[in-house]
């Protein structure tokens, strides 16, 4: 009886051990097959500056407001370069209106007060660098450049009124350094006003020379 029990328990224990060992072996085989023999590679982002913003100061500009003559224009713009082809720009400018031909010829009282002659505009535009390229200066320098087409919407404020304004234009940017550029921008500001009694659609051209810095 006792030997029978012993034999039985030995068989049980042996089979348990064997199965455990089998399982162990099985695990190892599977493990060898499954577990990748690769080290996990570390990845990090490069710690470098992005220069996608461009701030421009327009100092030498002139703006012609239909019927009110041409006057100096000052302004600034902030651009964000989306990719090498497209950038968007928020712009601001101010100028003063001259005397209209009506006021000069009729000799009557001025139509607008001095304060009402101050014109300011802001706009948001999208531009396309249509002709990127290089300008060659003598033998020595090759300057990167862009000719861009630009258009957008905004608001023009003068004579105590806001005027919804569309702008279209083109410009040239010449980069003296990677971060420094010279810009010449020509724009048509199109808006409607009613100063002379009836609504009239006006085209107002501006040309401005600016210096811009990328940051």
């Amino acid at each position: 009886m006792e030997t029978g029990f012993r034999r039985f328990s030995v068989i049980i224990a042996a089979s348990l051990l064997a199965s455990a060992a089998w399982a162990q072996e099985d695990d190892d085989i599977l493990g060898e097959i499954i577990s990748p023999d690769l080290e996990r590679r570390e990845i990090r982002e490069a710690q470098i500056d992005s220069e996608n913003f461009e701030i421009t100061v327009f100092a030498g500009g002139v703006m012609n407001v239909e019927d009110f003559g041409s006057n100096p224009l000052y302004g600034a713009a902030l651009a964000y370069h989306i990719n090498e082809d497209v950038f968007m720009e928020a712009g601001y400018g101010q100028t003063e209106l001259g005397e209209s031909s009506f006021e000069r010829l009729s000799g009557s009282a001025p139509l607008l007060t001095d304060e009402q002659r101050e014109l300011s505009y802001y706009n948001l535009s999208l531009a396309w660098n249509l002709f990127p390229g290089e300008y060659f200066l003598f033998d020595r320098w090759a300057l990167n450049s862009n000719l861009y087409l630009i258009g957008g919407i905004g608001s023009t404020d003068f004579a105590d009124e806001e005027h919804f304004t569309y702008n279209v234009g083109a410009g040239v940017r010449v980069l003296a350094k990677d971060w420094l550029a010279l810009r010449l921008d020509v724009r048509d500001h199109i808006f409607e006003h009613e100063i002379f009694g009836e609504a009239q659609n006006t085209n107002n051209l501006s040309a401005q020379l600016g210096i811009s810095i990328y940051f």
């Binding site: 590679r41 570390e42 990845i43 982002e45 990127p132 990167n144």
Partner: protein, 250 residues
């Protein structure tokens, strides 16, 4: 003899200066090793600029700065030019870790926090120009501060609002949203018609719209909003506004 010695020293000095200048890493530059077969170097950050050099496998280079999809690099030999980010997939840092230059995409759009929006629209017949600053609390819910200026034939208005925006299906390619808000409308009738005063009314805002990721940091957005003005006059006023614009996530 002595002239030759002088010349020799001069040449040595020149050589030393030259190598020192070429090998000293520029400030703020990141040193990496290239493990791609070769990479073209352009004179400018654009596809049309001439390729004037090729970087070799195993070459050490310094990443100087980045503009849109281009990186300015400089080599030990003193060559400086622009390289496409797409070509810099295989660069490794000093500890052999991979260095990547992230380009924002749809995943970033979905995990954005702040966004800045610009829009053009029609505010009851007047052309409007709008600006939005939004913050996303969860995938579905965001809050927005909105300002609109509308310039019309008979009156100009400015609106300032705060709104809650709910996007029930943020993962959809075209994701609809619903909006509830409140704010003020300032209406100034054009002085040339009749001399009237500016009106300032509290407004309730409801709206529906649709958003879709365009590319990079940009999402396109179309919206139809109803402004319900609680006026001090006999009747309240309802203004319907539609808008088309884009969001830039920051």
């Amino acid at each position: 003899m002595s002239a030759r010695v002088h010349l020799y020293f001069f040449c040595m000095a020149l050589l030393l200066c030259g190598t020192a200048a070429a090998q000293s890493p520029p400030e703020d530059a990141e040193e990496v090793t290239l493990q791609a077969p070769y990479v073209d170097v352009y004179t400018g950050p654009g596809r049309g600029y001439p390729i004037f050099h090729a970087l070799e496998y195993g070459e050490t280079l310094w990443l100087l700065k980045r503009r849109t999809d281009w990186v300015k690099v400089s080599t030990r030999r003193g060559i400086t030019g622009w390289v496409r980010i797409a070509d810099l997939g295989e660069i490794y840092g000093e500890d052999d870790e991979q260095v990547v230059l992230p380009v924002p995409d749809y995943r970033d759009y979905r995990t954005q926090d702040f966004h800045l929006g610009f829009s053009y629209g029609d505010f009851d017949g007047a052309s409007s120009l709008g600006m939005t600053l939004g913050y996303r609390f969860t995938a579905n819910i965001s809050a927005e501060v909105r300002a609109t200026q509308a310039v019309g034939e008979f009156s100009d208005s400015q609106t300032y609002q705060v709104a809650v925006v709910h996007q029930p299906f943020p993962d959809w390619r075209l994701s609809p949203y619903f909006m509830l808000g409140t704010g003020i409308n300032i209406t100034s009738p054009n002085a040339t018609i009749v001399a009237t005063e500016d009106r300032r009314d509290t407004a309730m805002l409801t709206g529906v719209g649709i958003k879709t990721h365009l590319s990079r940091r940009f999402a396109l957005r179309a919206e139809l909003a109803n402004h319900y003005l609680l006026t001090s006059r006999e009747n309240n006023q309802e203004i319907v506004e539609w808008k088309l614009g884009f969001d830039v996530f920051l």
